[in-house]
């Protein structure tokens, strides 16, 4: 808190924390996460923090790819960057309802709606716009990681089998092994009959396709 107050040495600084009791313990450590300070120009300051789980022992520290992180207010009206501990702040923000977006490549963040009240300075409301969940403190966490590439599956036999050529081979194998079984189940007399028939007829479909195939055996 002291850090924030110091940043405004000669302007009346007002910090109001909207922290639930259970997060009070945390707040001692995290300092003020949603903090709105009045500036002398009528503007306010929005302080917040971006936290990426799974990095650093205490959630501190940002991954290497967060190096190019940006935080944007109202679609690029103001752009700020993250400090090493993930904190960011927007200065000179007029009262009203604002939208904060976080851009870190590889992560999907929901935009956050932040209300800065003029009548009631310090009263702050923040909510994720994607799922309308209210935030007690302006700690922004990614919804999910974004993977921009398809995962190339390692070579396995199923892929080959599933491919058209594999299916073709599979079909052949099926024909090769199942047809005799079919033939086995048939009456040997019938088979002979059919064979005789075929020998007599030839294969009309093929024969007609042959050059000069009109001649039958």
């Amino acid at each position: 808190m002291a850090a924030i107050r110091r940043s405004k040495p000669n302007s009346p600084t007002l910090l109001l924390l909207l922290l639930l009791p259970q997060s009070l313990l945390l707040s001692l450590f995290v300092c003020s996460s949603v903090a709105i300070a009045t500036g002398n120009g009528g503007g306010y300051t929005i302080n917040g923090r971006v936290k990426i789980p799974g990095f650093g022992a205490k959630g501190f520290g940002l991954p290497v790819k967060a190096n190019n992180a940006k935080v944007m207010l109202n679609g690029g009206q103001q752009v700020t960057f993250l400090k090493p501990d993930g904190y960011f702040s927007f200065h000179n923000v007029p009262a009203g309802t604002h939208l904060i977006e976080v851009d870190i490549i590889g992560y999907f963040f929901s935009p956050v709606r932040v209300d800065v009240s003029a009548r009631n300075p310090g009263k702050v409301q923040a909510a994720l716009t994607e799922n309308r969940r209210g935030l007690n403190e302006l700690v922004l966490e990614p919804f999910k990681e974004e993977e921009y590439y398809e995962i190339r599956e390692p070579f396995n036999i199923m892929n080959i089998v599933k491919s058209p050529m594999g299916l073709m081979i599979g079909f052949m194998v099926v024909v090769v092994f199942l047809m005799p079984k079919l033939v086995e189940n048939m009456d040997p007399e019938e088979i002979r009959k059919a064979q005789e028939e075929m020998r007599n007829q030839g294969v009309p479909s093929l024969a007609s396709l042959m050059p000069g195939g009109g001649r039958s055996n």
């Binding site: 110091r6 940043s7 405004k8 040495p9 302007s11 500036g39 300051t45 940006k70 944007m72 109202n74 679609g75 009206q77 103001q78 752009v79 960057f81 993250l82 400090k83 702040s89 200065h91 000179n92 009203g96 309802t97 604002h98 939208l99 977006e101 851009d103 490549i105 590889g106 935009p111 716009t129 994607e130 974004e146 993977e147 921009y148 590439y149 398809e150 995962i151 190339r152 070579f155 058209p164 050529m165 299916l167 073709m168 079909f171 052949m172 024909v175 047809m179 005799p180 079919l182 033939v183 040997p188 002979r192 059919a194 064979q195 075929m198 030839g202 479909s205 396709l209 042959m210 039958s216």
Partner: protein
């Protein structure tokens, strides 16, 4: 043999409409069946895959295969070298594109880079404590420190001031004296002191209370605890302040009045001497502070330099004891002696560029001069104490197309013989950045490409016939080798070295970067017009610069000329095939809309300026490409000037004749956003006498749409791409019903908001903001459709294609971004469905489509939420318009997202019926999905994204996408997958192997069957034996029967 199979086989083959390859006749029927299956199977697979949502997706190893990404920074404004320590030598720069970057001094590569917000302009940069880059931005209100090695922001300080003023930054240079000496910033009429270690705010001295003093210089004398501020009050009084560095207490204030008034900035000469120009710019005022008193001494410039006129400026190079003065005749170095006398030392040409002083050792300073020669530049480094001779003089060959030197920054290094060597970073007229060292260009960066204004494309030349046989053999061998390697890779047999070789072959395929036209139309030239007035041609295959031209038409005048538009001028297709295609560049000389224009026509293959028409008499507000061509296939263009006159180009009698004939059908419109008026124009038939030439036409206002200024303000308009191709007008929907798209090239989308809501988000409440969108016909001015979005506001980004428009806006009630679609259908053609009517002839299919007619239109629309802010929105375009479309959305994170058009279909419903499902309609969701794999830029960012351009390839399935901003990115996408070609990954070797294996199998089975046949013939009486023979033999018999017969037949 199963008799059912055989008769079916030919039917299958013929029903698939693909004639079976001839060799299929020579293979056993089983294979024929399999072939038929193989033909059917891909169809089945295709059916399966098409039922899923096709996303643009890429494997990680496919990066660079068909895309390229180039990173730029823009025109350098400031540069600070960091070369003291051993290790990586770097230069930190800030640019006009609002980029701060750390560049490798050896190669010019970017170590790290940050693009600041558009209204967060960098004022000053410096390096503090040898490890932080300090930037002052937003008119001096934001001070940031960045870690020098990796670019991580370390701290940020907001400096609030009382009123706006210029921004000055002073970083303590000498680190050894006092580690915690603060950074002193003057901004907002206050002096702020900030700790350089953690950005802690120490003190502030407000000058607003001291009267309206404007501080010009902050001086931090090394080793003292006092900061000197020199300023001017009401431009008639000099003030100097001494402020204690630890607490901000004012120690001393002296002032002296100067009734003459001043011009420009006060320049320090030494610790207690300053020089400034008076208001008339003819008198130099030397200010000396002595014993707390200010002495002023005036010298007429005409006494020093003979024959100099006005336009005198003091150049801001801080050299101790010397200052430089630029007049109309040249640059003059003037030495200030200890007694306060001014001595002219040297005169140089006025195109000479001077660097800042570089402190070498105790009290010694060097600076660099750059002089232009013919095709070369002369760099000379001089010592301030010894101005008479050049310490170093180097001549460097310089490309003509880079223009003049604009800026120079120098840095020194100590050679092995302990003498000083110098390296110079120069910024050229085309915004490129070069490092000169030892008379050579070490590296260059084409940073003009960071400020692309307009994009056009051109075909490449047709390949010359006559390729040597050896070359073909060689390439065939290479091709086979590559495919064998690939096969190895697929079968996981490749060693790591081979895997690397495969990747290299894929990336550096010579095929994609050849300079000839290809069958698929993937190879093109991207012609880019940049803010520096330079034209670049980039090859779409690998992104290299094929040629670049600094347009002479934009350089001829002294005014600030800049290109504004790029148009296709000549695209030879039928007649003028010997000519190369060319583009028309329209520029403007001056800042106002009424300034004269400059035109040039540039050959798209070579970059030569074919015609240089600049500056022409008239201004240019609007450029219209007419759909007419003359006999040499030059496109007719109309340039509309500020007086609403139309100027026809090319200025040939033939063009004038064509235009006269067609002038009745030429319409255009103008959008006056400030006044809130849309106007439509046509050409006056009669030639009035006061037009300056026969190629100038008077225009008449045909219609106006006036939006009420108290309730609506135009914030965006968008129209269809003129070269867009629509495949069909009819859209078949479920139950075989047909809807006719209303397709008009003259449709304009206009978005207006209530004036209160025209500001940024957060400035208006939902109740007072209304977004209204219109579809206007630009020939008649008729409003086809109007729609109101209550509680919504801009910014609006929209794209209009075929019969639909998609627009992105901000929904204040939900406080989310919204995206809506409007589809417009022609109702008057709806009756044509009746076959009876068609037979009887009661249809209107033969009536010509006319913009004059009053169409009966219906619209369908739907709205969705969209997560991100949007910077640009575009749509894919294909050669024939058959392929389904993807929207290309440039998000706030500088990525380009491909969104299937099927997601924005107004016919989506919550519970789609069976018919809807069959048609492929998706169930309605409230938000549009963002699938990470469908980012066409995958893990790249196109920093500072400004526009997305799409060009159809010749292959119908594919569209070329070019996104530009500070970075450039090119890729090609197939919205419905590449259904008309094999992918690059297709393994020909595997196919060949399979065929080979099949052929071998045929012969083996044939031989086996022959043998079997013989055996059978020998054992014919013993039928019982046949029945007892193994199943395998029987199988062979079955398999080989047809072959047998075939053999028999041929005997």
């Amino acid at each position: 043999m199963d008799p059912k199979v055989i008769p079916n086989t030919p039917k299958h083959a013929s029903s698939s409409q693909i004639p079976p390859p001839p060799f299929s006749l020579f293979i056993p029927t089983n294979n024929l069946i399999a072939m038929a299956m193989a033909i059917k199977l891909p169809l089945i697979l295709l059916f399966f895959s098409s039922s899923l949502i096709p996303t643009f997706s890429l494997f990680e190893d496919q990066v660079g295969l068909m895309d390229w990404h180039q990173r730029y920074i823009g025109k350098v404004k400031h540069a600070v070298f960091h070369t003291q320590k051993a290790g990586r030598k770097r230069v930190v720069v800030s640019t006009e594109e609002n980029v701060i970057a750390s560049l490798d001094l050896r190669r010019g590569e970017i170590f790290w880079r940050h693009v600041l917000g558009a209204n967060d302009v960098v004022d000053k940069i410096d390096i503090a404590l040898g490890k932080y880059v300090i930037t002052l931005s937003s008119e001096g209100s934001i001070l940031r420190a960045w870690n020098l090695p990796d670019g991580q922001m370390v701290w940020e300080s907001f400096l609030s001031g009382s009123k706006s003023s210029k921004a000055l930054l002073t970083v303590p240079a000498n680190l050894k004296v006092d580690l915690d000496s603060p950074i002193i910033v003057y901004s907002g009429a206050c002096i702020h002191a900030i700790s350089s270690i953690d950005g802690e705010y120490l003190w502030k001295k407000d000058f607003a209370s001291e009267g309206s003093v404007d501080v010009h210089q902050l001086i931090l004398p090394g080793g003292s605890d006092v900061v000197h501020a020199v300023g001017v009050t009401d431009s008639s009084q000099f003030d100097t302040y001494e402020i204690h560095i630890k607490n901000g207490g004012l120690l001393k204030h002296t002032s002296a009045s100067f009734p003459g008034g001043i011009y420009g900035e006060i320049l320090p000469i030494s610790g207690d001497r300053f020089v400034v120009l008076d208001a008339s710019r003819s008198v130099l005022v030397l200010i000396t502070i002595e014993n707390g008193q200010i002495h002023l001494e005036q010298t007429h410039i005409s006494d020093l330099i003979h024959g100099s006129s006005g336009n005198t400026v003091i150049l801001p190079s801080k050299l101790s004891g010397i200052f430089s003065l630029r007049t109309d005749n040249g640059i003059v170095f003037i030495k200030v002696t200890d007694e306060g006398k001014l001595n002219v030392m040297e005169k140089v040409d006025k195109t000479v560029v001077i660097s800042d002083a570089l402190p070498l050792s105790e009290g010694e300073q060097a600076f660099a001069l750059v002089q232009h020669g013919d095709g070369k530049i002369e760099l000379s480094v001089r010592l301030v104490h010894d101005m008479s001779s050049n310490h170093l003089k180097e001549t460097v060959k310089m490309d003509h197309e880079r223009g003049f030197v604009h800026k120079i920054f120098i840095n020194n290094y100590v050679r092995t013989d302990r003498s000083h060597g110098f390296r110079a970073l120069i910024v050229m007229e085309d915004h490129s950045l070069l490092l000169l060292q030892q008379g050579e260009i070490v590296w260059t960066r084409d940073d003009g490409l960071a400020s692309v204004i307009d994009v056009a494309t051109s075909e490449l030349p047709v390949e010359k016939i006559g390729v040597s046989v050896a070359k073909v053999e060689h390439s065939l061998f290479e091709w086979l080798k590559g495919h064998m390697l690939k096969l190895k890779g697929t079968l996981m047999l490749a060693t790591p070295d081979e895997v690397a070789a495969i990747q290299k072959i894929r990336l550096q395929s010579s095929e994609k970067s050849r300079m000839t036209r290809d069958h698929n139309g993937f190879r093109r030239l991207l012609i880019l017009l940049t803010r520096a007035g330079k034209l670049y041609a980039l090859h779409t295959g690998d992104g290299r610069v094929v040629w670049s031209t600094l347009l002479q038409s934009l350089r001829t005048t002294s005014q600030q000329c800049a290109g504004i538009k790029l148009h296709q001028w000549q695209v030879p297709h039928h007649h003028a095939l010997d000519n190369n295609p060319s583009v028309l560049v329209v520029g403007r000389c001056g800042l106002s809309l009424t300034s004269p224009s400059a035109l040039s026509i540039v050959d798209a293959y070579t970059g030569k300026e074919l015609q240089n028409m600049g500056p022409v008499q008239h201004s240019t507000v609007q450029v219209i490409s007419l759909p007419f061509r003359d006999s040499s296939e030059q496109q007719l263009h109309l340039l509309i000037d500020a007086d609403k006159r139309a100027h026809l180009y090319p200025t040939t009698p033939e063009a004038a004749h064509i235009f006269q004939r067609e002038s009745e059908n030429v319409y255009w419109y103008s959008v006056e956003s400030e006044a809130g008026i849309l106007r439509g124009y046509g050409v006056k038939k009669s030639h009035s006498s006061d037009t300056p030439s026969e190629y100038c036409f008077e225009t008449r206002n045909l219609w106006s749409v006036v939006f009420p200024s108290e309730s609506e303000k135009i914030i965006g308009t968008v129209t269809r791409k003129p070269n867009e191709v629509v495949h069909t007008q009819a859209k078949v929907i479920a139950d075989e019903d047909v809807m006719y798209k209303y397709i008009s090239k003259n449709m304009l989308f206009v978005a207006t908001v209530s004036p209160k809501a025209s500001g940024p988000i957060g400035s208006a409440t939902p109740d007072e903001s209304v977004l209204v969108v219109y579809l206007v016909d630009t020939v008649t001015g008729r409003i086809l459709h109007r729609m109101t979005h209550l509680g919504s506001q801009g910014p609006v980004h929209a794209v209009l294609s075929e019969n639909w428009v998609v627009y992105h806006y901000f929904n204040l009630r939900a406080h989310r971004y919204g995206m809506s679609i409007i589809e417009i259908y022609d109702q008057s053609r709806a009756e044509n469905k009746d076959i009876l009517k068609l037979i009887v002839g009661k249809h209107n299919l033969t009536t010509p489509v006319s913009s004059y007619s009053r169409p009966e239109v219906t619209t369908k629309s739907q709205s969705y939420f969209f997560t991100h802010s949007v910077k640009a929105i575009s749509v894919t375009s294909t050669a024939k318009g058959i392929t389904s479309k993807h929207l290309l959305i440039g998000t706030i994170g500088d990525q380009v997202l491909a969104l299937d058009k099927r997601f924005v279909d107004p016919r989506r419903s919550l519970n789609p019926t069976q018919a809807d499902k069959e048609e492929g309609l998706l169930p309605l969701t409230d938000a549009l999905p963002i699938i990470p794999q469908s980012y066409v830029t995958h893990s790249f960012k196109v920093e500072g994204l400004r526009g997305i351009e799409t060009v159809p390839a010749k292959l119908e399935s594919t569209s070329l996408v070019f996104a530009y901003g500070v970075d450039l990115f090119h890729t090609r996408i197939a919205p419905s997958r590449t259904y008309d070609s094999l992918t690059e990954d297709f393994n020909y070797a595997l196919l060949l192997l399979t065929i080979l294996a099949l052929v071998v199998a045929i012969f083996v089975t044939w031989v086996l069957s022959e043998r079997k046949d013989l055996q059978d013939k020998w054992s014919w009486p013993q039928t019982q034996l046949w029945l007892q023979s193994s199943s395998e033999q029987r199988l062979l018999n079955i398999c080989s029967t047809p072959v047998n017969m075939f053999v028999n037949q041929n005997r």
